[in-house]
């Protein structure tokens, strides 16, 4: 994906003999790196685009869960007694759950809820089970981004490879464009197509680079850690992964099924009273009611980048161990900071909005990178028409089918995995077979826009007044704004050929 400014169209207003602080980079090196950048980009573009698109939407996962299940009870604070009652009720209802994660109300997920396997249960103010709020579409979106709907370990590794490819593309993009900072603000949309796409690609790449690099690198790390752990465990601990991760996650206690009293969560939560820098957000309950039980609490530290500090408690609610994610060496702190940095969960809604905007920019950078390559081929009289059409179908077809999967899940409970992938495959095949790329871009933009509006209508019909309040209203207005932006209102510019 060559994002170089086409020599024949660049505006030559550069002053002569101006000294540059940048080191000279040999042209042959630039051309070779650009070749690698183009080649790798073409190989991985479709997967990168889908992972970036789903990741951008998934930044707002908690908001989407609230939007998808607006009728479930919400509460800003849960009393310790309600937490205790809820834990006991969940354990009684699911005695073989093994591990139960209880989420305490937070600003972006104001619910007392519990994860039992793939199911999510919500509590009322007294800690009684109020019902299930598993938000299947949000769950689908999460799995699309993390696993691409492949079997989990394989999917994680594939997404990790995508992250590594994106990391390579970002670094090689800078090496291949040594003058990219000097042109950091030159954006000429109204020019020849290759010039406008190159400006779009390069400008969004430069200023978004720290964000893009962080999400790509941490994504690669999260995805490939499994593979690396298998390898390290195979070499050092005869395959015992828990032993390898013990320095970070702590030792896993031995299972002991001997019956034991239920842990005192009221006392556990009381330990955090008077500690304003620790806000408990998640309680992990393992093998409850047995002597091997484990009660761990993740406490958010509002002024830290780490996702939480973790504390272990005994059955009486006495704190027995602190994991040390906040202060026990750089490695643990880097590990614990990587997740908030990847998912944009370290600064509330403003940071999420910034992540959404820069994530959308990364989608545009991916899309324009391939378009530049395709345009150069066309400019040289060797158009790759089928590839142009297929790329148009992937870029705009995936947005359309993502919206379609939400509409059909909400309206008819159709499994979104099928309504995302199957229509996308059909669209790509149809695009390759008929019409031209412009037809597919315009048609699919109209379709995306219409389906996004339909999603809002479906949600409003399904939930009535709940659709017009709180988080639901925010999500619905955002979807309508997106529908308006994506619709092809403007007549395309009459561009000069490069």
């Amino acid at each position: 994906m060559d994002a170089a400014t086409p020599p024949e169209t660049a505006e030559k207003t550069e002053p002569v003999n101006r000294p540059s602080i940048w080191p000279k980079v040999p042209p042959a090196f630039v051309r070779t790196v650009l070749s690698g950048h183009s080649g790798l980009g073409l190989v991985a573009a479709a997967l990168i685009y889908i992972v970036c698109l789903s990741g951008t939407v998934a930044v707002f996962l908690n908001e989407l869960k609230l939007w998808e299940e607006p009728a479930a009870p919400t509460q800003t604070v849960a009393s310790p007694q309600a937490v205790q009652a809820f834990a006991e009720a969940i354990t009684k209802a699911h005695p073989k759950a093994g591990v139960v994660y209880m989420g305490l109300p937070t600003p972006d997920m104001p619910r007392l809820h519990a994860f039992v396997g793939e199911q999510v249960f919500v509590a009322d103010a007294q800690g009684r089970i109020a019902g299930e709020a598993s938000a299947p579409w949000a769950h689908f979106l999460e799995h699309l981004h993390i696993y691409l709907h492949l079997p989990e370990t394989i999917g994680l590794i594939v997404v990790g490879l995508v992250g590594a490819a994106l990391t390579g593309l970002i670094v090689s993009g800078f090496l291949a464009h040594p003058k990219i900072f000097r042109d950091a603000f030159a954006f000429r949309w109204a020019g020849a197509k290759r010039l406008s796409q190159a400006d779009l690609h390069n400008r969004l790449s430069v200023w978004g680079a720290p964000f893009h690099l962080v999400v790509a690198w941490t994504g690669a790390y999260i995805g490939l850690a499994t593979l690396l752990l298998f390898a390290v465990a195979g070499v050092t601990t005869k395959g015992d992964i828990a032993k390898v991760t013990a320095p970070i996650y702590g030792e896993v206690p031995r299972a002991d099924p001997t019956p034991a009293p239920f842990p005192d969560l009221v006392a556990t939560l009381a330990w955090f009273d008077g500690k304003p820098d620790l806000k408990p957000t998640l309680i992990s309950l393992t093998a409850l009611g047995t002597r091997g039980q484990l009660v761990e609490v993740n406490a958010l530290m509002p002024k830290r980048l780490i996702y939480a500090e973790r504390y272990t408690f005994d059955v009486q609610g006495r704190m027995t161990r602190k994991l040390g994610l906040s202060d026990d060496g750089l490695g643990k702190q880097v590990f614990a900071s990587s997740y908030p940095l990847h998912f944009g969960s370290f600064g509330g809604l403003p940071v999420k909005i910034a992540y959404g905007l820069l994530g959308a920019a990364l989608c545009v950078v991916t899309s324009s990178g391939v378009t530049i390559w395709l345009t150069r081929r066309r400019d040289r009289g060797r158009p790759a028409e089928r590839l142009e059409k297929a790329w148009a179908a992937i870029v705009w077809g995936s947005t359309a089918t993502l919206a379609l999967s939400a509409a059909l899940q909400l309206a008819l409970k159709v499994p979104p995995v099928w309504t995302f992938w199957a229509p996308l495959a059909v669209l790509v095949a149809a695009a390759v077979a008929v019409k031209d790329a412009r037809f597919w871009i315009v048609s699919l933009r109209i379709a995306t826009s219409a389906i996004l509006a339909a999603v809002v209508v479906v949600q409003a019909v399904k939930f009535g007044g709940l659709a017009f309040g709180g988080v639901s209203l925010g999500v619905n207005l955002t979807l309508l704004a997106l529908a308006a932006v994506i619709a092809p209102w403007r007549k395309p510019l009459a561009r000069a050929a490069a």
Partner: protein, 196 residues
């Protein structure tokens, strides 16, 4: 430090980001004269902004939020100041941009067999090299066990990313293969000879 002062500093930091990005815009967008002062001033304000955010947002978190602010502010400025319509006559101000740009060299994937070989090198072979380097890092990196693991987990994707780009750039497939296999073998040897 009082919360009010922390919030005041955070707003000052936001202002510093806006002014810093604007100075860089002035330096790079239109000004054809030497402009070291604007560039230095712009970057300095961005660094100051990160420091000012610290008391309100926390040290590491403040740097992350400040970096995001810069990215969003610059992107907004690019969109606002971009040329969205075709320029007409004398009204069109020039947008400074470096003339010329490189075309990519011919890559290794010139035929179907070479394309398949390139993809194999970029995916399984590079992945093997990346994982092997990660295991070696996990065993040989000095420091606490957690530091070793995290270094390996962040280092291996970088090796993999570099190998992916290189295998897609270098036309000499045999050279790429030989070096990647040799690298993986050296990492394997390092694993065998690991400290106990």
């Amino acid at each position: 430090m009082t919360p009010t002062l922390q919030i005041a500093l955070a707003w000052t930091a936001t202002l510093a980001v806006a002014v810093g990005v604007w100075l860089l815009w002035l330096a790079w967008k239109r000004n054809p004269k030497p402009r070291g002062g604007l560039i230095a001033g712009g970057w300095a304000l961005l660094v100051v902004a990160a420091a000012l955010l610290g008391p309100w947002a926390g040290g590491d978190r403040g740097v992350a939020i400040s970096t995001l602010l810069v990215a969003v502010a610059a992107t907004v400025l690019i969109v606002v100041s971009g040329r969205w319509t075709l320029p007409h006559g004398k009204k069109a101000k020039p947008i400074r941009a470096t003339a010329g740009g490189a075309d990519p060299a011919t890559g290794p994937a010139t035929t179907w067999p070479r394309t398949v070989a390139t993809v194999l090198l970029a995916l399984p072979v590079s992945t093997a090299a990346g994982v092997a380097s990660g295991v070696a890092m996990a065993l040989w990196t000095p420091g606490a066990p957690a530091d070793k693991l995290v270094t390996a987990a962040f280092g291996a994707p970088l090796v993999l990313a570099g190998a992916m780009v290189w295998t897609c750039a270098d036309r000499k497939l045999l050279r790429t293969t030989a070096i990647l296999v040799a690298f993986t073998a050296v990492c394997a040897l390092a694993v065998v000879l690991r400290p106990h």
